[in-house]
Amino acid sequence: MKVSNALWKDELAGEMPEDLAREIDIFETELALRKQGKLDERLFAETRLRRGAYGQRYDNGQRHDGKKVQQIAYPSGELTKGPNTMWDAPGMQRIKIPGGGVNPEQLETLAELAEEYSDGIVHVTTRQDSQLHYVHIDDTPTLMRRLAAANITTREACGNSVRNVTACPYAGVCPDEVFDVTPYSCALSRFLLGHPDCQNFGRKFKPAFSGCSQHACALTNIHDLGLIAVERRENGEDKRGFGVYVGGGLGAVPYQAKLFDSFVPPEELLPLAQSIARVFARHGEKKNRNRARIKFLVHDLGIEKFKELVLEERKTLPPDPRWTEYLKGAEESHEEPLRPPGELSAPAAGPFERWLKTNTRPQKQEGYAVVTVALPLGDITANQLRALADIVRRFTKGTVRTTVEQNFVVRWVSRSDLPEIHQALDAVGLAEPGAGTIIDVTACPGTDTCKLGISSSRGLAAELRKQLDEKSFQLDEAVQNLHIKISGCFNSCGQHHVADLGFYGVSRKMGGYAVPHFQLVLGGEWGHNVGSYGLPVMAIPSKNIPQVVTRLTERYVSGQKNGEHFRDFIKRIGKVELKNMLDDLTRPPADKTDRSFFRDWGDPREYSLGDLGVGECAGEVVSSTDFGLAAAEREVFEAQLALEDGEFEQAGKKAYHSMLQAAKALVKIEYADVPDDPAQIVQEFRTRFYDTQKFFDPYAGGKFAHYLFAAHKKSDVSYTAESARFLVEEAQLFIEASHSCYNRLPAPAAV
């Protein structure tokens, strides 16, 4: 869409890390191939998802406009970027922020991209990522290049891959932590990014690090792989390690992560994660998307059997120097303050006092505080991001992170600077108090942009924020400390299970019309890295939810005994009492002319489920062989381009390499760890596919395999115009034959 897309690649040449640059070039070629119909839409969907380019509501080319379903006449016509996903439909771009760590320059880059490719807003997610909405797929390679130049990647931000490795945003400064988990989370993120053992999952895989077990800042219990810092005494010395938990997850039915090992030393962290990934890839469900997360595998096998498989796998891993190399210097401090420590010179008063109470917390380093920048619904404008970058530079050495509560935290602020930083944030609308309180509502995108959204989670969150903010001064302290989390559907992206008051979108028919509802979920424990999950209580029309919150909180204030926690109060009064308390709110209004009930928050259209689409959270089941063959096609395409440009040597090399890619893709079916060495690939291919005649075409027999053998034999010879042209053609045929062979093979049995 942008005119400058053609210019940015040259503009940023040399400024991007080589691996990221190459990865984006590959994606750009895949876009071109898809446009030419040379790449299957399902495969393209998974490859774009693995670059963080996600679908959005209405991308199936239709939208209920409140009166009727409108067909959207996108200019690119029938061209798709995935099954039932129109090419021109605006999409969401997720951007990985490992551990939530960003620097001021990266904030500025995000601001630029939000303005130029999105709608001027950067959204912080519940997994510390950033998201841009309404992005055109044609703009994504440029957007990725600009991110790469700022050392940010979108690789594996979505799809069946290792997602953002999250970490406690207070790591390194929290008085309660065992040790700073930051370097370990960075090492794991770096190690698993693009790792061959993580390319064949049935679903996504989410790791998280926490520096302690008692707080909720990293929510390790809801993760596929949760790592909690622990120390133990060995030979008179404190030795660092991790409590390792596996198989946690939210979704429709939440699972608590199970303890895998109470102490894993740092040097075993990466190989253990690799072994877990391999077991998940090999044994995890692939066909039934609803049971493909690792939580089901752990549950079905039992933690002991799962552990046994992982430890067996661990023994087979060839040593990798990165296991320890990436952890070098982990025990040293990595952040420094800009200014000397200090204390407030005068008592706080007015708005500053309230902000100080809710939006700052002391660091373990005396005289410093962490400042929370509370973002309404996780949203921040481009101008605010630039201002935040300036503020971070002015008061710190660039120490800022995102949080799972969709906020930013600025670390290492001298306490004597707190009045000044409050003033600076206030000047740009970023000093809203109430961080981490009932006002700081978390919500997933819901019906605003998500294809699976049933009710408007953001609309409800905005309304609750507004109403609670108006009376925040009157709210009892116990109520202020409650958490509200809202999901647009049962999939729990808004983490409704872990809140004191959780809601997820459902619908009900009333008088023949669909009415947006939310299921009320009570009893979740936010503390202890999510100590327990809440349970659904009843479904209530969306428009009555604010009254539900008011009744429950008022009743809690008047009925709590001896300072009991909200979840204990709810348990004590019981479901019957809850039902009596809220029953009248489950019905539509007596006034039949009141149509507001049939509309959702922030959406004037008559409510309909007609816009529900097929979600892309589960990605597409695409095997590593599918990917390998697609990579081979891409490479032979590049060989053709080189041929056209008269670069015969390059063309020949690429054609030969594309054949190796295809052969390797087939070998992987039987031998997952096939090395990259060309001689070994050819040998393995010969033994497993040629000698066994599995590769043989029903008509041409083993003819196409000989193209590979011949090309390999002559791989050290220079290519002429003629030999390069022959080889490109042979490579194309070999890849076609590889596809045919793959299609003839029986489907692997599900475990």
């Binding site: 209405y58 001027g120 909405h133 949203d379 404008t381 630039r386």
Partner: protein, 193 residues
């Protein structure tokens, strides 16, 4: 230089009186009736963000919004798709689209006449940092295009250009003020000549 992805923002009168909530059903209606030349797709509500994009009507080729960036409330047209033609053609297209949207909003009964173009001030942005970095050189290169275009827009009447925020991180923009007020219809007529 090539001026693409032109944004035009018409500043409104008495911004304190304007309630953005009624814009949500209005923009949804515009989608139902596809009232603009662009393909209209969705409505994004950012009223909860201070000095933000306000309420945005998302289109394929362009977005329309009533935005409050820099705490300056205005009706904004954001051209996303590239346009053929000259710089004058592109400036004209974006300005016409913004003025047409302004006319529609001014005549919306549910807004009770509260959303009105102040007639004296508009802002123009180039939403592409590579084509138009916010630098003195860009100002020098674009000046004659702007002079020509605004001469036409204001029918030869006086106007004053100012290049506001010099922060190189921000979009290249120019602010235009006129001593006498114009209404949207006058300006559209001038562009039609």
């Amino acid at each position: 230089m090539e001026l693409q992805h032109v944004n035009v923002k018409l500043l409104v009168e008495n911004p304190g009186e304007v309630d953005l909530e009624p814009l949500i059903p209005i923009f949804h209606r515009w989608i139902q009736d596809q009232v603009c030349e662009e393909l209209l797709l969705d409505v994004a509500d950012y009223r909860h963000v201070e000095a933000g994009p306000g309420v945005v009507l998302i289109g394929h080729q362009a977005n329309y919004s009533v935005d409050n960036a820099d705490e300056r409330l205005g009706i904004r047209y954001n051209r996303k798709a590239a346009l053929e033609g000259s710089n004058q053609d592109r400036l004209k297209q974006a300005t016409r689209a913004a003025l047409a949207a302004c006319q529609r909003l001014e005549s919306e009964p549910s807004l009770n006449g509260r959303l009105r173009f102040n007639g004296r001030e508009l802002e123009l942005f180039i939403n592409d940092r590579l084509l138009a970095p916010n630098l003195e050189a860009t100002r020098a290169a674009a000046e004659s295009d702007f002079q020509t275009f605004f001469q036409k827009l204001f029918g030869g009447n006086d106007f004053c250009l100012s290049y506001g925020n010099g922060d190189p991180r921000r979009l290249f923009s120019v602010s235009v003020r006129t001593p006498r007020p114009f209404n949207a219809a006058d300006l559209l007529n001038n562009l039609a000549c």
